[in-house]
Amino acid sequence: MRMIMKNAMNLKSGIIILLLFAALAAKAQDIDQCVNSKLALEGITPSGKCSDATFLRRTYLVLTSAVPSVEETKAFLESTDANKRAKLVSKLLDSKGWIDNMVLRWGDMLRIKSEFPSCIWPNGVQAFNRWLMVQFRDNVPYDAFVKELLCSTGSNFRTAPVNLFRINTKRTPKTFCDDIALIFMGQRSHPKEWEKFFTQVYLKGTKEWKEEILCLDLDKPAPKNVYLGGKETISCKKRTDYRIDFANWLTSKDNRQFAAVFVNRVWSWLMGTGIVEPVDDFSNENLPSNPELLDCLTTLFISNGYNVKELFRSILLSETYSRTCRTNSSNRSDQRLFSHYIPHRLTGEQISDAISSITGNFDIFASRAPEPFTKYPKGTRSIEIGDGTVTISELEVLGRPSRDVSSASARARSYNYKQVIYLLNSDHILQKVRKNRALTPIIYNEKTTKEEIVDYLYLSYLNRHATDNEKKTIVSLLPNAHVTTICEDVSIALLNSDEFLFVH
């Protein structure tokens, strides 16, 4: 009897898993359908599938901000598993890299930095980062995540989410609502009524240096018959935390813009551009390029219980995501309808981390506030720093945001002159390239041909093999050159090439 029960259970869970996969495929298909019907309407023929190599590099970068190693690249390219793309997506969504990358993106929006003008202080910065890390590690539903962020009370060192109310030097209901409107509703302003729900919040110092307790003054008048949107007005019960009523409204299923803003952000992280662009300007003057698509994603996200990872997965498994960036005659001018992948520049952190991991030479990061200075562990990647105050010149030049504004505009979409000069001729980069430890066994193996070295460098920097033509041409550009010269010049050239500098 027990056996039968167990089998039945297995069967049941098997069916559930099957259904789950079918559901996911359906989601990805829904997305593609929305994209394709719009394209058909406009008479645009979409591009085909990208190569495995491109899929690998693109997915690593958008999910983890890292490039794959030579070994991972080879294994993926050689694998004959028909499901290898879906498996890669699953592997990366469960990796620490994905969590770090999410913490970085939220750290940008929440302006997490220890020093002035935002002054969360190192202790608060660490607490806030750790809390975010747990949220993404546990894949906490987005609505629950935001509710906790908005409705916590306590010490900024212990109850990390309260730091949302400390990121501004000026702490008033208006500045709280400015941040909430921009980050969660993609709006540059908010209705005055919102502020009524935040009148109770105040911060009280303690004897611990820079520690503050977020407290509520329960005697503040309760909001009455406030209309925020949807069907009903809201009246709060006296002497309760009025933020809870606001958060319930904000995260409710009826407030579709709340979900839409997040799915649009995720879409832009994965696709390089939002359906609404800029992603934090939802307004009547700035409409989505494909409203049905945004609507479809919003519905999927809400009906799936605000499951963040599943939202990522359904986009990543879509045909739309896996298109090549190469265009055809009908879709060349399309920049907004996703008929082909739109190349977007690597972030400063991605470039810096890629060069560090490829060459095996990592930078040393140190927190300079407060004294004594604290060094980060060796091998820390720049996306793991978690503090806008901790930096090195390279990251500043390459465009890491200072975390003084929450808007997406803090990350430039184009390269600038300083960055191009730096990438071409920086000593800092040159030293790393020259001390590339991974190359030592290859260079000192007499059997290695120059073509093989070129191929290895392509695998390192571009995550693909060099074509025969590429190998031949590059070797011919450096006749009589010593292998170390080839390594240096080809590495510098590769890291300045379009293929390296763009997610494509």
């Binding site: 020093e115 190349p343 390269y415 590059i474 550009l477 379009d498």
Partner: protein, 422 residues
């Protein structure tokens, strides 16, 4: 409300009523990082007693009748017709490094929740099109601030370019631009290879963004293989000139600043660190004050000789001053703390009158007696000289148009332009 920030056209970047006639084309900021002691430099108090003047009891006469300077500022004392001194800078007594640093660089004392850019970043943003240099509009020698990211709400590219390196070394190594490690021939060869790699790649095709990148790469190679980068080659200056500035990192930074201005750079900040002397203040001041005296006087004289002082504003000072009353007791052993209530600044050039002393402090140098000058007043004066309306408004990425100098004009944080010097 839709606009792509960073691509905002110059004429939309700020709106203003009256654009003052520009007298100055560039600004050099000698930033005394940590805060310098006003009583040891430009506002000596020989009658206040040993607890105030400490090791420096004998201020020296200057070429201005009745005006004394600290005893180590020998060169500057003979040059007073070329610059003026503000003795009553004040930030209302803010003594925290981070806050004062921010206030000094931005003029913003509103605590209004918006992070402003430093005034040099602001100038480089608003005057970008007037920058004739092949380099960048705003450069810091030799390191940027570690306390405050100067771009504020502006796009990241308006941060200063941080040279790194040391101009007092045999080769002033400016990362990315000037080094002897890679020959120009090799740089050109690499560029050729980059172009070749791009043309062979089948993964990507040309798009607007890659076209933009390639055009920048062409400009960069032109800079790196051309002569403009030689602005950092201080060996092009004769020995006499180099010695006049002082063979110190600071002195040679001042010389490099002059060369950058000649090259057409709009804003240069010489970040002179080491003024935060809580402990054993006087043991460190002798050398430091000599270096300051030498470098700053050389810069003023040299710019004047070259006819550039008329169009180049020089300002010199830190985030605050230092406590006039000395802490003799351990662990300070003759130290001076932070002091934001009143402190001194030097201003010169750019159409400002020399030979003036603005403001008056009390007998001990602890309080303003006459004519306070707030950071935003000084910045407003710089803006006016540069042809920027200090009452103008600037476009913020999400908040629309906001005041360029929010504290300016508020009687609690502003006492007006330095019209005494116009």
């Amino acid at each position: 409300m839709m606009f792509l920030y960073g691509t905002v056209q110059a004429q939309e970047r700020y709106r203003h009523q009256e654009v003052p006639q520009a007298k100055a084309k560039a600004v050099i900021y000698i930033y005394l990082d940590g805060g310098s002691a006003q009583t040891d430099t430009f506002d000596p108090k020989p009658e206040a007693g040993r607890n105030y003047f400490g090791k420096y009891p004998n201020p020296i006469k200057t070429t201005l009748p009745g005006v004394m300077f600290g005893q180590r500022l020998r060169h500057l004392a003979t040059l007073t017709d070329k610059f003026s001194v503000i003795r009553t800078m004040t930030n209302n007594g803010n003594n925290a490094h981070e806050t004062s640093h921010y206030i000094t660089l931005t003029g913003d004392m509103t605590n209004g929740g918006i992070v402003y850019p430093s005034f040099c970043s602001m100038i480089s943003y608003l005057k970008e099109e007037e920058c004739k240099s092949r380099l960048f509009p705003y450069i810091t020698l030799v390191e940027a601030s570690t306390r405050f990211n100067e771009a504020g709400f502006l796009p990241n590219q308006y941060k200063p370019y941080d040279t790194g390196g040391n101009p007092n070394d045999k080769v002033f190594n400016v990362d990315g631009i000037f080094s002897e490690k890679v020959s120009t021939k090799r740089i050109a060869g690499r560029k050729e290879m980059i172009d070749k790699l791009n043309s062979l790649s089948e993964e990507m095709e040309r798009i607007d963004e890659t076209d933009k990148l390639h055009s920048l790469q062409n400009d960069a190679v032109e800079l790196l293989t051309g002569e403009a980068k030689d602005v950092f080659n201080l060996s092009k200056e004769d020995e006499k000139t180099r010695n006049r500035y002082g063979r110190t990192t600071f002195g040679q930074s001042c010389l490099a600043a002059r060369r950058l201005i000649q090259e057409g750079v709009i804003a240069v900040c010489v970040r002179y660190r080491g003024w935060d002397t809580h402990k054993e203040h006087f043991a460190r001041m002798d050398e430091r004050l000599d270096d300051l005296d030498c470098g700053l006087s050389a810069l003023i004289e040299d710019l004047d000789r070259l006819g550039l002082l008329k169009t180049t504003i020089i300002i010199c000072g830190g985030e605050f001053g230092r406590t006039p009353r000395i802490s003799w007791e351990p662990p300070w052993n003759g130290g001076r703390g932070h002091y934001g209530k009143t402190y001194s600044y030097v201003v010169a050039g750019g159409g400002l009158k020399g030979g003036q002393v603005i403001g008056k402090t009390d007998k001990t140098g602890e309080n303003v007696v006459e004519r306070p000058v707030y950071p935003c007043d000084l910045i407003a004066t710089v803006y006016t000289l540069m042809g920027i309306d200090p009452k103008g408004e600037i476009l913020h990425p999400t908040a629309g148009y906001i005041p360029l100098l929010p504290s300016y004009g508020n009687p609690k944080t502003s006492a007006g332009l330095l019209t005494e010097l116009f």
